[in-house]
Each structure stands twice: as C-alpha cells, then as structure tokens.
C-alpha cells in the first residue's frame, strides 16, 4: 500500500517531465520542416551568390576583387563604417546612460524616437539629406557658395549611413544597462571614485560585450546599406560607390560573375559578423553569470 502510494506521483512526475520531450516523429518532423524553411529562405540565396561568383573560375573571381574600382569601393565602405559606427557608439552609450540609469518624464517617447530610423524606408532616409543639402535644398546655395559638398560626395554617404545605423548600439545597450541596475556604480561613488573613474572601471567593463555586439551589428549594416546610400551617392565610379552600389554597377554591366564576386565578399563579411555575434552572445551570457 505505502509503496504504491509513493510510486504513483513518481510516475506522473516522470510523465510530466516528458511533456517537454516531444515524440521522435514530431521532433524530427518539425526539425526537418524548420531546416527546410531555413534552407529555402536563407541558405539557397547564399549558395546562389557563391555559385555565381565562382561561375567563371577562381582567377576571374580574384580579378573582380582586385579591380581598382572594387578596391576603391571597399575603401569607401570601410571609411564610411569607420566614421559612422564610432559616432553611433558614443551616442549609444550616452543615450543608454541617460535612459537606463535615470527616471525622467517622456522617456518612452525618447526611446521611440531613437527607434525611428529603423522603420523609415531607406529611400526616404536618403531623400531627407538631399532635401536639406542638395543644390535645391535648404542649405544648397550656402554650401555651393562655400564650395562644400555634402550630397553626391562622401559626407552625404556617411550621413545617410549614420542615420540608418543610428539605433543599433543604443538599442543593444539600453536593456542591458537596465537589467544591470546601478548598485555597482553607486558603490563606487560612495567609495570616492570620480564620475569618469566609475564609468571606465565599472560601467564600461560591465557593458563591453553588449557594446561590442552592437558595434558588430552596426558595422554590418553600415557596410551593407544600399537604398539610402544609392540616393545620395551620385554613382561616380571609383569615387562615390560603396560596395553594395558597386555590386549593382557590375550587375548592370553584364559582369554577373564580377557582381556576385563582390556580393560574395559582402556575404563573407555577413557570415563573419554572425560568427562574431554568436561568440559575443556567448560571452555576454558568461558575463551575466
């Protein structure tokens, strides 16, 4: 009697745990479905890029990458990312500090405003800078009188890219800093640390992995932005073409293998980004523990 009374709950406990373990048929069925969907939507396009990139063989691939216009596009893309990412990092840290560590009125509105560039059509993101800095725009005359070029030159491309990648770092840091609270910082201050000491010794180490994660995402997007940059670039060969624009140009010159070769370069950047991101995610979790 007594043994039976103990055995019943035990059995049901095991049964209850099993609820989280689906039967093999369901498990495999769903796994195959999910992987099939990932394959069709994501792996195949990626594979298509690489197959076409190497369609004319490795020498043609290398030649396309080494072409002077491709190299200048790579340089420009790196320069653009090199300026816009640090700008957005400084902003992201400042915004996250103000939003995560303090309570003030209108915070929700501020958070929504920071998100705006994310939902703006890339075409509009480029257009706004033409409206302001274009020859017919607000500052058009003044700029042209002073021989300053913004749109159809590098500064315009940097502005458009900065706009598009604006929310990435802030959006990554705000929840992270919110979840960490401010006990450690307060302790440091009570122990006599200055504001900057507290920031560099406590805050920065705490958010470093999240920050890096934001930087990685921001960089990937900065290198890959097409629509907005296309509107402000002017498409001058070897001067204002970023990598994605160069892909379009090669494609339009019937140089399909060249276009896909450059595209594959961008895909490699994407894959490296994803690998880095995975590593950082893992690090963030470690850090949280």
């Amino acid at each position: 009697m007594a043994t039976a009374a103990i055995e019943v709950p035990r059995k049901s406990e095991a049964g209850a745990r099993a609820i989280r373990r689906d039967p093999p048929l369901v498990r495999w069925g769903l796994t195959v479905l999910a992987l099939g969907a990932l394959g069709a939507f994501i792996v195949l396009p990626l594979a298509a890029v690489f197959v076409q990139a190497f369609a004319k063989g490795v020498p043609a691939y290398l030649a396309a990458i080494r072409e002077p216009d491709t190299l200048s596009a790579i340089k420009l893309s790196l320069l653009v990312a090199g300026v816009s990412v640090p700008l957005n990092v400084v902003f992201g840290v400042a915004a996250a500090w103000a939003i995560a560590k303090f309570q003030f009125k209108g915070k929700n509105v501020l958070v929504t405003l920071i998100d705006i560039p994310f939902a703006v059509s890339p075409v509009v993101s480029g257009l706004i800078f033409v409206l302001i800095f274009g020859a017919q725009g607000w500052f058009g005359e003044w700029l042209s009188d002073h021989d300053i070029r913004i749109v159809f030159a590098v500064p315009g491309i940097i502005l458009a890219t900065t706009f598009v990648t604006f929310p990435f770092v802030a959006r990554e840091l705000i929840p992270l800093m919110q979840s960490q609270g401010s006990d450690e910082e307060e302790a440091a201050l009570t122990l006599g640390a200055s504001g900057w000491q507290m920031f560099f010794k406590i805050t920065l180490p705490n958010i470093r992995w999240g920050l890096l994660y934001g930087v990685v995402l921001c960089t990937a997007r900065a290198l890959g932005e097409f629509g907005a940059v296309s509107v402000v670039s002017g498409h001058i060969r070897g001067q204002t073409n970023t990598l994605p624009l160069h892909v379009e140009i090669l494609y339009n010159e019937y140089n399909y293998s060249g276009a896909f070769a450059v595209a594959s370069l961008l895909s490699v950047i994407a894959v490296i980004t994803l690998t880095l991101k995975k590593f950082l995610e893992w690090k963030t979790k470690e850090g949280a523990k």
Binding site: L30, T31, L46, L113, I116, A119, V123, I132, L189
Partner: protein, 278 residues
C-alpha cells in the same frame, strides 16, 4: 522644474548624457526627417491629397501593406517553428542553423534581391520546379512576399527565441501532471507565454518590410497597379521633379511607420511586464 522632470539620483552625468542624446538625435534624425513634412507642405493641400490618393499610389499602398502583412504572418509561422526547433531540440549543426537565422539582417539588401531573383524566376533553381505547377514567384506579388519574408524572418525568430528559452518548465510539467494533453499544454500554457513576443516579432518584421526597397525592386517586376511598391513610387515621383508629391507619399509612410513603432514599444513594455509577472 528639473526636479519634477527627473527623479533625483546620486549618479552623475545625466544632463551631459541626456543633452547629448537629444542634440545628436535632433541633428541626425529629427531635423532631417522634418524636412519631409516641411517640403511636402510647399505644395497645395489639394495637390497633396490628389497625389497620395491617386489610383497608382493607392494600389502601391495595397501591395506594400498587403505584402508586408502576409510576409509578417508567414514570418510568424515559420519563425515560431524555427525558434521552437532551435530552443527545444538537439540536432547536429544546430549552432550553424542558429547563426544563419541572422543572415538576412547582415546581408546587403541589393545582394539579397539579386540572389532571390536568380532563384525564383521561371528558369531559376527553384522557379523551374514551381513553374510547371503554375506558381510564378518572380515579378508577381508573391515574389514581393518572398523577399519581405526573407527580410522579416530573423525578427520573429529573435523575438520568440529568448522567451521560449526562459519559459518556465515547471508550468508545463504541472499542467501535464494535472492531466493536460500535449496539445492542451501547447495551446494553454506555452502559446500565451510567447504570444506577446510573436506580436513584437510580427510588428518588427512588418515595419521593416513596409519600407524595404533594395531586395524588392529586383524581384517585383515593377508593373504599375500590380507590383509597384510604395518606396518605388517615391523614387518615380522624384524622377519627375515632383518633390512635393514624393515627400507627401513619404510622409504617409513615415506616419504609418511611426505608429507601428509606438505599437511595438507598447507591446514590448507589455511583454516585459508579462515576464515580470510570470
């Protein structure tokens, strides 16, 4: 004034950080965006109304909103499935599959557009098997949906995944020990937990899809009244030097996007509250 605006704190640096945030936000985002609205009102209201309600533009809203909606829904179903498999099951190559989910996010949209078109035209890798079945993807609204799903999928997976991973195992076990079937547990225990995250993922995918340009123009075919997306019409207006018309359509889209964002943030707050309660 400042006392009632901000709760006091012993932490330093609020005012510099806050001022810098507002200044930078204004310079890079708010002032440039206001140009859209200011430029559009340089024309008469009648003209603006005519532009944003002309049949071609209305057809493009239908396509842009409709395709984004469908793509969002497909992303929700497929994304939930992918998230479920990635969280609940073990299989070889799982880490790789998990990493690949973000690819659409990192891949430049023009590259995605060209690659998808290559796959889905009548003679493409996938298109050639679909064509005999009478399914045309490239240069139809379906093609637009495919491109937008590609763009939207990661948002759903990444919204649902953490919620699913953190979901309380004991709740499910308790339900099972109380005699609930597998389906009942899913419907009554798991689904309510992930529902807010699914909604957030949907809203993000939808908002992103609405403005998407690079990947869509290659696959859409750009037929007036049928497969012209709204951002393309903005470009088309610009090429006719109709800046007021272009900015008027842009303003309609911006307003829609802003409302979407407000909804997303409201949803996220609800999700967070839900998580705290759970």
């Amino acid at each position: 004034m400042s006392i009632s605006f901000k709760k006091p704190s012993i932490l330093p640096g609020f005012w510099p950080a806050f001022s810098y945030t507002v200044l930078y936000l204004s310079l890079i985002v708010l002032i440039p965006l206001s140009a859209v609205f200011l430029k559009s009102v340089t024309s008469s209201w009648a003209h603006l109304w005519e532009v944003v309600t002309s049949p071609e533009v209305v057809a493009s809203y239908k396509l842009s909103f409709g395709a984004s909606l469908v793509a969002g829904l497909v992303s929700v179903v497929v994304g939930f499935l992918v998230a479920w498999v990635l969280v609940r099951y073990q299989f070889p190559g799982k880490a790789l599959a998990d990493a690949l989910v973000d690819l659409p996010f990192a891949l430049p949209t023009a590259v995605a557009g060209i690659a998808l078109t290559t796959l889905y035209t009548e003679h493409g890798w996938l298109g050639r098997y679909l064509a005999p079945l009478g399914i045309k993807v490239a240069f139809t609204p379906l093609g637009v949906v495919v491109a937008l799903t590609f763009i939207g999928l990661p948002f759903v997976v990444r919204s649902v995944q953490p919620v699913l991973a953190d979901a309380d195992a004991e709740l499910e076990e308790a339900a099972a020990s109380l005699g609930a079937s597998r389906w009942q547990v899913f419907r009554l225990v798991i689904f309510p937990v992930v529902r807010p995250a699914l909604l957030t993922g949907f809203a993000l995918a939808f908002a992103r899809a609405l403005g998407e340009y690079g990947s869509v123009i290659f696959i859409a075919g750009n037929m007036p009244m049928k497969t012209e997306i709204t951002p393309l019409l903005i470009v088309s207006k610009l090429e006719q030097y109709d800046y007021a018309g272009a900015t008027a359509i842009a303003a309609v889209m911006l307003t829609a996007s802003f409302l979407m964002l407000l909804a997303i943030n409201a949803l996220e707050r609800r999700t967070r509250r839900f998580m705290v309660m759970g």
